[in-house]
Symmetry: C3
């Protein structure tokens, strides 16, 4: 298999992964969403403390899903401009843009946030899993590292 | 050909399909858009009655294109977070998010709607065609089935 | 390699290309962004004169990056509905939608513009490069050619 074929397949896998991952998140399927992280996966949110491990990740999503339900809001998380690289150690390094789109029942939808998501993925038993996720918000001052463009060759 | 190669190729096909499909829709090319459905394809919109068959589908799009032209509006339909599965019967089952972006001449663009699109596709003479489409709007109460996340394996 | 495999690989390449290209643009890495054009590449913007050649392209991006920094704005350029064709002469012809999303520090993000981007790409030393880019804005009257949908077969 050529390098390009391998990269095409990985790119497809990442896109499909994010699609199922975000459908799970926005439907409040917290455990399904958390299962996309490694057992000890870490999420570094734009503000607030890190969340570590599937159990805590699932709890965090359950809580925010309940908040949204009470507010009558449907959120949609939307990844795009997905830049996929493989590292020397075989990890998959993904940087992408992430929109959060909010709709209240009976109202027009609105774009709430533009973010950048940086995932470090590994392959576990053949499936992609997120080992580390860091999300930054465009509306907050860049207290952590900004996205730095990388040369086009992986 | 590996399973992964086949899935990568199908994923590409679906993305390319939606791109051409939406360019046709937003340019008012109603017949070209309707040809992406099977001859007896059915569209279940978020509200109002179903539309069945290419002729009626094309008519519906012609009417809404004329409305938009009179209103001086350009719409853009944008699919993302595309989740592609193949069913046991060989159909292709796609669930994705769909945005409608509206621009009036001389004004800033705005996000009008966030939707979920569920397509059941078949392959006819080698080409993908939509046999059934169901679209739900986030701003309406979920009177029909909501998107239910599915396990990551197809 | 089948035609479909080749198309899948090209589609992946274009998506990955745009991801890195836009991350570079939105991070103000003007030279990295300009290197995605051929040496004599031409950019036809929605308004104003054409920009020709990497040096002038980079200068234009540097200037607009500085403007945005002074205004405290982060822009995100987002391509979607990417329609990729190969021409008889071996060029790659891409038409896609392009959103510009703007965020001011401390404020909610907003969708500023919906555009259509038409790129003619060539392969130089194995890598894709843009030979001609034309961008039209939905909010301006169509003084140049509008996007015309093309048959689904390339």
């Amino acid at each position: 298999m050529s390098d390009l074929s391998a990269r095409a397949e990985l790119y497809l896998e990442v896109q499909q992964f994010y699609a199922a991952h975000m459908h799970a998140l926005d439907s409040g399927e917290a455990d399904l969403w958390a299962a996309d992280f490694t057992e000890d996966g870490v999420f570094t949110p734009p503000s607030g403390p890190n969340v570590r491990g599937r159990a805590d990740l699932a709890t965090a999503v359950k809580n925010s899903s309940e908040q949204r339900a009470r507010a009558g809001e449907q959120h949609r998380h939307w990844h795009g401009m997905v830049d996929v690289r493989t590292t020397g150690t075989g990890e998959i390094d993904v940087r992408c843009y992430a929109l959060i789109i909010v709709t209240r029942r009976g109202e027009e939808s609105s774009l709430k946030r533009a973010c950048v998501c940086h995932d470090r993925m590994v392959r576990v038993a053949g499936r992609l899993q997120i080992r580390e996720r860091e999300v930054t918000r465009d509306d907050l001052a860049p207290t952590r590292g900004e996205v730095v463009p990388r040369p086009a060759s992986s």
